[in-house]
Amino acid sequence: MAQPTLTFPRPVFAKLSPHPFLLRSLCPQSESDPAGRTNGRAPREARSINIHTSSLSHAHGSAVIRTGDTTVICGVRAEVLPVASIPQFRPRAAFEEETETSKRAELKNYDLLVPNIELATGCAPQFLPGVPPTALAQTLSTRVYSLLHGSGMVDVEDLRIWKRQKKEGEMEVDEDGEEEREEQELVGYWVLYVDLLFVSFDGNPFDAAWTAVVAALKDTKLPVARWDTEREAVVCSRESRPLKVRGLPVACSAAVFLEKEYGEPGEGRHWILLDPDRLEETLCREVITMVVDCSSGETRIRAIEKQGGTVVGRELLRGFAGVAEQRWKEVSKAMQ
């Protein structure tokens, strides 16, 4: 007589003991039952990405990103900031050379890019209503802020609003560039409020959030603004021009799954799971995120974040750059 065995359907097994559940599906059982993750993907397989832009009618740029069950909406809204209302505003002196560093400092000092992330109630069970922003939301928004400023995607030149005065009789004469520059005066800036809302959350929030930011910025069209001398205010015309976005940084994350749930780190086998979902994220401690930009032809790394374990060393991290390149190709294809 056969021994009575205790069997559960998959969802019950996943709820009761998530770690053995994932481990069992990663270890090949037989020829007919190939190894894979519980979500049916191979360890190095990311979820396909869907991007839909310009869906919000009142934002200057917007994008909806969906990868698996993670859905993020990003809206970019531009507001005019007159220089008179910037505390500690310091106009650039004529002798000061404008460098990449000074441009970035300008964006940062006057807070011209303001990202905010909201992990909405109901997007995943762990987010409760009526609580202050979780540590995850705060960490994510810090990382997005830092990458937004560090990657130099937005040029401060695009956000400046000028007051252009032309003297009588000099209307057509434009022989000297120097002279023309003297006549314009900086009166304000566009401030870009980049708001992200997680509609549903199924792991890998940073990649989805960052892709949404990039897609929304690429979609952003700013109205043409100028200084009206009679009204002494900034006026915008109906025509708009697209915001110039330099480069295409793409984030690629993975988590390291260890064979022993409560064993010592470093023993047993490990798997590197690309684009982890929520179940996998709760079971993995070590995470790695790499932001790469291959738009210039060669692979430039924009950020690395690796923490929470000692499995990923130098070799694995180097190899991960290749995985990130692959992901860059997929995302850049989806962006078009």
Binding site: Q88, R90, T101, A105, K108, N109, A135, L136, Q138, T139, S141, T142, R143, Y145, S146, L147, H149, G150, S151, Y262, E264, P265, G266, R285, E298, T299, R300, I301, R302, A303, I304, E305, K306, Q307, G308, G309, T310, V312, G313, R314, L317, R318, A321
Partner: protein, 254 residues
Amino acid sequence: MPATREPEADLSVLPKADGSARYSYAGYTVTGSVNGPIEAQRRDEHAYEAHVDVIVRPAAGVGGTRERHLETTLQSSLTQLILVKNFPRSLIQIVLQVESAPENDYVNTKLVQASLNFAIIPALLQTAVLALLSAAVPMRATATSAIVAVVSQDGASELVADPSPREVEAAQSVHVLAFTSQDELLLAESEGDFTVKEWDDVYDTAKRICCQSGATKGESIEMVLDEKGDNGPDMRQFLRSTLETKVVADLYWK
């Protein structure tokens, strides 16, 4: 305060905490206290392991999003070091108070800043490890950390260990790496624009700072003489000598 060239540390500076340390290097001074294992709050309690709680307090003002990011980073790294499985259902609390940070005369200093603060991570991690050692919390390994910036000067890029805030601002890329005492890469945070090759060079430099061992002391002195001493300090040796000094002082009565 002038930036100290050599790292300095005092152990057990706070009388009421289980363990504490004050660490200062490269313009940063951080005081850390460790209490634990203590009873965990119901929501933090874990059935199989201790919960590690890290609180970072900035030098001025209240903590914002960047402090949450630092706490998350340190928490995940320190959980790897502490033998958390030995203390199920308990809490190990680490509080890090920044006392001073190097001033930057070139930029408007804002009280609340949202961007990542890479330069402070080594000081915080080093303080946390020293305070944990002072509190005699069982650990799998200790850790040392270093910050390296890639600064491009006249077309050639140069690696600068422990960069000043001004250098961090102008740097092409900034990297923070931490290694355990078993020479494993514990933490790697980078920002900027760089290639895999550059990261490799940075890895070598950071590893030299973090993982020079006392055994190769004779060689390292020669190396320092050769390379004008810009290798940065030997962090692992510093950690060891700080603790040795403390143990000698404590056992003086014997």
